[in-house]
Symmetry: C2
Subunit: 608 residues, 2 copies
Amino acid sequence: MFQSFTAPTTPEHGPARLQALREQITQEGLLGFMVPRADLHQGEYVAPCDERLAWLTGFTGSAGFCIVLPEIAGVFIDGRYRVQVRAQVADCFTPVAWPEIQPAAWIAAQISGKDGQNFKALSGGEIGFDPWLHTKSEIDRLQADLPEGISLRAVDNLVDRVWLDRPAPPSAIVRRHSAEFAGQSAAEKRAAIAADIGPARACVLTLPDSICWLLNIRGADIARNPIAQALAILNERGEVSLYAQSTKFEDVIDHLGSAVTLHPLSAFAPALRSLTGPVRVDAETAPLQIGVELAAAGTPLIWGADPCVIRKAVKNPAEIAGMEAAHLRDGAAMVTFLASMEADQFQSEAGDPLSEIEIVTRLEAARIATGQLIDISFDTICGAGPNGAIVHYRVTHETNRATRTGDILLIDSGGQYPDGTTDITRVVPVGEVLQDAVAPYTRVLQGMIDLSTARFPRGVAGAHLDALARAPLWRAGLDFDHGTGHGVGAALCVHEGPARISRASNIPLLEGMILSIEPGYYREGLFGIRIENLVRVVKAPDLGDLRDQLAFETLTLCPIDKRLIDPDLLTQDQRHWLNAYHRRVETALKPLVDAPTRAWLEAACAAL
Amino acid sequence: MFQSFTAPTTPEHGPARLQALREQITQEGLLGFMVPRADLHQGEYVAPCDERLAWLTGFTGSAGFCIVLPEIAGVFIDGRYRVQVRAQVADCFTPVAWPEIQPAAWIAAQISGKDGQNFKALSGGEIGFDPWLHTKSEIDRLQADLPEGISLRAVDNLVDRVWLDRPAPPSAIVRRHSAEFAGQSAAEKRAAIAADIGPARACVLTLPDSICWLLNIRGADIARNPIAQALAILNERGEVSLYAQSTKFEDVIDHLGSAVTLHPLSAFAPALRSLTGPVRVDAETAPLQIGVELAAAGTPLIWGADPCVIRKAVKNPAEIAGMEAAHLRDGAAMVTFLASMEADQFQSEAGDPLSEIEIVTRLEAARIATGQLIDISFDTICGAGPNGAIVHYRVTHETNRATRTGDILLIDSGGQYPDGTTDITRVVPVGEVLQDAVAPYTRVLQGMIDLSTARFPRGVAGAHLDALARAPLWRAGLDFDHGTGHGVGAALCVHEGPARISRASNIPLLEGMILSIEPGYYREGLFGIRIENLVRVVKAPDLGDLRDQLAFETLTLCPIDKRLIDPDLLTQDQRHWLNAYHRRVETALKPLVDAPTRAWLEAACAAL
């Protein structure tokens, strides 16, 4: 079992830990200290040894940070976590609504005493931060906005000084990602990236998924993400120096070859100082300290995006074939799971209604039964009834709900397989169909279909397409408060940049990118709906016009529940898409499932 | 008759004028000189005295510029004018594809001799420009990109020195824009803008439509645009100093009141030097020289957008009522015109087929017959058959086409009335219906309807909505190469900022903004299609959800030709919209037209 159902927060330790940290702050002659969620690699997930924010404050959300000042410690969290943070942190921490309140403005308010907090105004000073955990862009922005009298100072990590039982860094054994799935040798990739970085003579890579993609390796340092943590320097000849715990790489020494050399992490900073420039560094994702080391050595810098990101996002035919195979396998597991729940009428063997935890467990078992599951691709979001309306819900023993008839059940899940990564959301009614959910469900489906069937010219970005998935909801006065889609890695991270389908994303979509399309609708206290398929960007079929267009091709194979659809709302085109999709799903999955599942599949895929 | 049908270009004068300009350049010790299309006010249209680019080069397009160097003179033009420029300029001018080729890169190529032109490489030097005709943003960008050895130098306008018969500046009499149509007194507006500009103590206004809006005046200095050319300084007390030819303002002295003082244009620069700062200036639209004058006087500057722009874009109830009245009147003129062409079977009294010029003339006559037309709002685009495929077509005696059966006729036109401004495009078949045009026409209509009926949350910009109007075309592999819509002034300029419906526009739409929705499709050499209505942004009707949304309400009242529609392509919702729109048009216009037009209107508005 990959997923656990515990609520890992320990708010009771907060006051003592904060006290210990404040002593360090005072000892350093600082006014305060910043504790980010991010690690060295700025990823979405961090290893236990990097859970500094959770260790200090108790807050376990996937984004946020804490600024500790003499008489207040602000925990900055976004709208998703307003409720959660109150349950997780002790009174010595003050939740701050971010990004509405920006850190510099908050600090300024503390200094002037203007925020109404009952403490004396500060007189200025330095706020410390660990320069390996913040990017140049982040520090530049903050520094520019800080009020007069306050500045930032890079220091050793003060949390690490007081976190005495801090876990060891992850050390999972790295495996080879086979050429069959990668479609290109690591040597070819290294040569291509070396050509990309000109006129720089070297490039620093700090994103683990970039390094894993580049070297055709996979790891298990971070749960749900098949990555190995490392830092790398690629030179103009395509040679790579890898900085990491070398024991992790024992199994892949031969695979890496002589152009890739292994070094301890402690050799990274000295290596930076010995580079011949110009050196390319990503200001948005690389730790600030990298630029500081290069500048100290007088080495010229070129600020430029991590060159692996765009090549990784554009999947080659082998990667696409791997993703297709993974989706076929995953689809069979999904229908086996869905059919079994229906066959059991959402009851356990003992005759009790299935709980969310039992459903998550059953789904994971179906994926494990494929014999190929490496990990789930994220903790399954399984929300019945009102829990479905919590967008980032993760069931724990405390919140676990027994399903009851009339519940709308939302299940967002995915698998990591050797050949690909999946991410799928389906919604099913438990027993009786909640009539109030039918119109919103149909509109969510319309949005998913309208975007899935869109054709569009090159140059169009997620910002321009987002409305196509929302317009059917908007027409009914509805909407959803998350992006419409994210990039997905090929046997890599389920959230992968740079393209997204969101009003905020101006990265043009390119042939070969794989993205999710996942509109939703959430009625607080009642139910949540989300329908999600993965799609890949393809050259659109020629329609005789001279224009060269792009389109999406759906990768996900699993029926979309028809009981929640109001057929009268669908256009002819939408109904045709749904029926054609179901014919395709049925044909693809029928050979892969047992007889009872097959009967369920046929009914689920029957034409509307 | 407002519109003329002559082609005003005189390419034969080019060589002599260029020679005279080059002598001035040499005399000033310069390497070259820039001749922009823009005037002091950076507007889309310029007065004859400001047609420097056309005078020098012969090129009459609405965007472009010329850079004169010792042995080459580049005329920079965008994609719309690639064909036109070749017909209009003499051989001594070299067309340059802009923005693909940027001026700095082009200059660099001339210096290195790398562009293959047969002339010796330049050794560096200064390029002159008139600092009253370029903005700070423009010059900053250019200066930053110029190759080493080349710099810019502000000088007197060298074209004006050699343009001996340059026309006098426009001096049309300014009229009052009544409070009934403005909805707010000029005093109220001045006070509101004065409050907006804090902490600046004064604000420089250089956009004539901003000044006319602010002071509730209208002019006729520029054809098609009811504006008076002037510069203004508004101070923190809401008092305005107006710099312009004072005789123009004779009729509105009382209306302006004692808080508005008139000064000659020559007093503007000295007035700048005597201001107490900080002074707010718009870096995107104000001439560079304004900042130079302020800096020379040591006056602090605040760069900030023209504060009138956003208040002008958001129309108040009186402005909306005026726009509605204008659209009712204009709609009656349109249907009278359309009905008369049909009644005459597209033939003149002499029995000849109507020509494009005759159609333009007949439409203008129908608008003049309303008794309220002040001007047309732009030169009518009337393209029959292949001429319809030229997006910015303006018929001349040389291009004038006699309509023939099977032609698709595209008519894009509008009127300037005392109470409002209109802009409408309709397409009608001449005689027989060209079957090839039916599917594209229907898809253009679908796009227009889908966007017209969209609801969307606050914060959404044109960039996010543009795809809704294109998706039906995209699905058929079709598209159009212009924006989907532009802002429209209330009895002001027909193209008004800041919001647009375009992938490039991130200005959020606000309640009260008026925009066009005008998707199209153009098949070169055969036909052009565009369907355009004006809409205003409204609070969307409450649908019971808590979300506060915006929507569009259509202002334009005129039937959309049904003969070109394939009803099978329309969704139920689209058909319902069209039928409801036609019922509304029929009810509104029936009382305003004569009996034969009424019969035509009833048929045109019958349900599909």
